[in-house]
């Protein structure tokens, strides 16, 4: 009887240790999975344009057929992040465009501080799924913009809408948020 009962006790302890090892592996794995969701999300958004991020680089300017029969309203929104005082607004708030044709518009920004600042504009398109159809060949958002104390200037955006834009999209909003670029312009 006694030999029989010490045996299960030892095996239970071993089984417990095995369970703990396996479960801890799951815990560590899931902690890693949380971080893995970050690149995963970026890839999915890059493919689908889910989060309204436009490609922040010069789009292919090859001419495409202009769809003059269709008019899409593009709205422009400018907002300032709370971390620095800026004046920032679009020159025109809305523009009726034909998909396939290039348009240029301007945003005006002025540094309200008495020292130089460097700004970075971050674009976002709504509805998010239109982002991949929003093509820019020139944009002040491609680079950081340096401003002297009190300086204000017009900044251009040249864009077109891909004619492949889904037909149910009639309005596209392009919004820029101005952030102070990290570590520069104090």
């Amino acid at each position: 009887m006694s030999t029989e009962s010490t045996e299960p006790l030892a095996t239970t302890a071993a089984a417990n240790r095995r369970s703990v090892r396996r479960l801890l592996a799951v815990v560590v794995g899931m902690f890693g999975f949380g971080f893995l969701m970050v690149p995963f999300y970026d890839v999915i958004c890059d493919i689908t344009g889910l989060n309204g991020k436009t490609r922040n680089s010069v789009a292919d300017a090859a001419p495409v057929r202009v769809d003059a029969s269709r008019t899409v309203t593009v709205e422009f929104v400018a907002s300032v992040n709370a971390d620095a005082p800026w004046e920032f607004r679009p020159d025109v708030v809305r523009l009726d465009v034909h998909p396939g044709q290039f348009y240029q518009t301007h945003f005006y920004a002025r540094n309200l501080q008495d020292r130089p600042l460097v700004a970075q504009a971050i674009p976002s398109v709504a509805p998010g799924l239109a982002a991949t159809y929003f093509q820019k060949i020139e944009c002040f958002c491609f680079n950081r913009q340096a401003f002297a104390a009190g300086e204000g200037r017009e900044m251009p955006v040249t864009f077109r809408l891909d004619p492949a834009l889904p037909a149910d999209t009639r309005t596209v909003t392009l919004s820029y948020t101005l952030f102070r670029a990290e570590g520069q312009g104090g």
Binding site: L9, S19, V20, G128
Partner: protein, 532 residues
Amino acid sequence: MSATTAHDTHHDDHAAPRGLMRWLTTTNHKDIGTLYLLFSLTMFFVGGSFALVIRAELFQPGLQIVNPHFFNQMTTMHALVMIFGAVMPAFVGLANWLIPMMVGAPDMALPRMNNWSFWIMPFAFTLLLSTLFMDGGGPAGGWTLYPPLSLQTGAAFPFVILSIHMMGVSSVMGAINVIATILNMRAPGMTLMRMPLFVWTWLITAYLLIAVMPVLAGAVTMLLTDKYFGTSFFNAAGGGDPVMFQHIFWFFGHPEVYIMILPAFGIVSQIIPTFARKPLFGYASMVYATASIAFLSFIVWAHHMFTVGMPLAGELFFMYATMLIAVPTGVKVFNWVATMWRGSMTFETPMLFAIAFVVLFTIGGFSGLMLAIAPADFQYQDTYFVVAHFHYVLVPGAIFSIMAAAYYWLPKWTGHRYDEKLGRLHFWCSAIGVNVLFFPQHFLGLAGMPRRIPDYALQFTEFNMISSVGAFMFGFSQLIFLYVVIKCIRGGEPAGDRVWEGAHGLEWTLSSPPPHHSFQTPPEIKEAEAHS
């Protein structure tokens, strides 16, 4: 057998520390279960007092009692304290007390880790509650901690994050312990499909915990590095995306809501058969339904964020997947009703709470279905309708099941019967109070009153007044519960081993209160005795 017995006697022999040291150093599953339950009860009153501050402010429009910033701290802290401090520890406490007794084990599998996982909690919550006294106050951006708002928290921020990490570590250790106990410590003959349903639901809950608590830990760590170490996980200026936080958070958050309800399903599945004097209807389907709900909980998270701008296919997927959860949940409600069908029912306090659970949880489930309809959700998002929904599943859902469990097993734990008259009084005050409190919030939400605001438009006044009256009624009737518990601990009519005439299961074969080591000799479980 002699070796096991010798081993156990050895434990009983050595001088057990008394007083405070007994509780600090205990590795006994019953002591730790008691500590968890008392901690949970304390936090229930702390979180409840925060809720009463909220309801007092909302009694009439305008700002009367607190400033908006403090109001926001109250909504945030109420949620964090109730979720992580009241509901989750209460279930862990019940698991500690009951699982070893239900599977025929002497104690939990990892008793020292068990001690740790409890004693982290008081420190975590001292840390969390201390943030209310810091510069800039406690967290005020909602318990969901969405950036960039949550990153504007003042000095309290790192303390909040650390306390969430500590709660996570505690929950994960508790979950590992539960799984190890259930998988390795069952008595001979206690096959998986003979386990009581409370054990089954806790096994599945424990797997959910170890799968998602680390994800929450990751998400809050990213918040911390975004604020203090210059990373840009959620910062658009650096190429991050604040919406991504919502995805990661709700990947944790949705399984979390089932962590708070699956053990409740288990409790109710123990209590209803006892007082209907019939075996549980559809035992196997209950097990499979629980597992299905747990699986589905991983693929529905984005229904919390329908309005962030998802492609149509995404909205449809998350809408249908969410509605699918109603199927296994419906199976469960059907089984509870079928168990009561033609049973010889009596209505002692635990049964009253269990029946109220079935009815009121179902109401919460239905409003959940309404919220699952993506086009309708655009209207309901962030209104009081959402508040009414999740309070219906959490208060008369999770909390009522915990109350039911407390009344059901208190005689077993203490050896004394509780005061049945006061128990019923507590039930009726709670049941009426909770409906007066939360039912009008449905109407407020449908009329468009937003949640998490200290002030509101005049047309919402009447329903808010009713709701606040219900809140104070519900809140103060919990003092009856406190009195009943203290009275029952201090003495009362001897309970007897079986306590309830219709009770089945291994825990009722032990004395009341049970011996120090629950089952020194593993009991033998026969088919006929299983889950009846």
